[in-house]
Symmetry: C2
Amino acid sequence: MDDDYLTIRQMCDAFDVTPRTLRFYEAKELIFPLRDGQKRLYGRRDRGRLKLILQGKRFGFALEEMRQLLNLYDRGDAQEEQLRRTMNAARERLAAMVRQRDELTEAIDDLRAQLDLAAEKLATFGRAAAE
Amino acid sequence: MDDDYLTIRQMCDAFDVTPRTLRFYEAKELIFPLRDGQKRLYGRRDRGRLKLILQGKRFGFALEEMRQLLNLYDRGDAQEEQLRRTMNAARERLAAMVRQRDELTEAIDDLRAQLDLAAEKLATFGRAAAE
DNA sequence: CCACCGGGTGACGTTAACGTAAGCTTGTGA
DNA sequence: TCACAAGCTTACGTTAACGTCACCCGGTGG
């Protein structure tokens, strides 16, 4: 009921984003602020969506993916089905993240091994100089 | 001595890259194939560099960074200093990769938690339907 | 009156690592 | 000789998520 509306600047401060970002999200149809004349006014709904968007970004969802998920919730009905779909998307993302982490771990281990080799080689320089 | 030279296609097959990639690397001054008229010929040296480049990519080095590292080894002298610098660069990369993995791990844990919450919520739907 | 501030609207720039397409040459087998 | 394949060069396209710039508008304090 008491949707206190925020200006773009207040939103930026609250969520630590730039005005450009909010306008950009609006252009991408992720959020739909009201207008007071020219000025954008962001209500509870937009804040909720933005929060989800930023969370999604953290999980590696692309903006377009988030838009689709958010739109699911906009149609308001069939809650269960929506939740299922969202969970499926999330599970796929999760699997991708785990894969990515595994690859990273491999690369880390390999790089460490290379560094060890290099350290040995460097030691031979030291010994050569000590003769 | 016996630099057997490879054509661009042979290189592509050997390293699993496209011709475009090799020409691109050349334009970026990462490799320097000889020319037989128009045709590029890749020798031992270029193969070595390409191998390092692809390794570096795996570790997340940018091409420009790789170029600088490779150039270090081109001047041929002061081996020890070169090795040191390369190791320093590698250590920084390693630290960045570890940081990145930690962040990813956090995000993974968070997403898992969210999924668990969602699963609970979904269960309430099931119970509601069972009444 | 005027500078300034907050906000708004395009439109173009940025970054990385190539992909893609057009059109030219050169070599080769039928 | 002709067509075809492989290479070559040049140049523009792609992707994501904004940043930057130039310019406009309306209200306000001095």
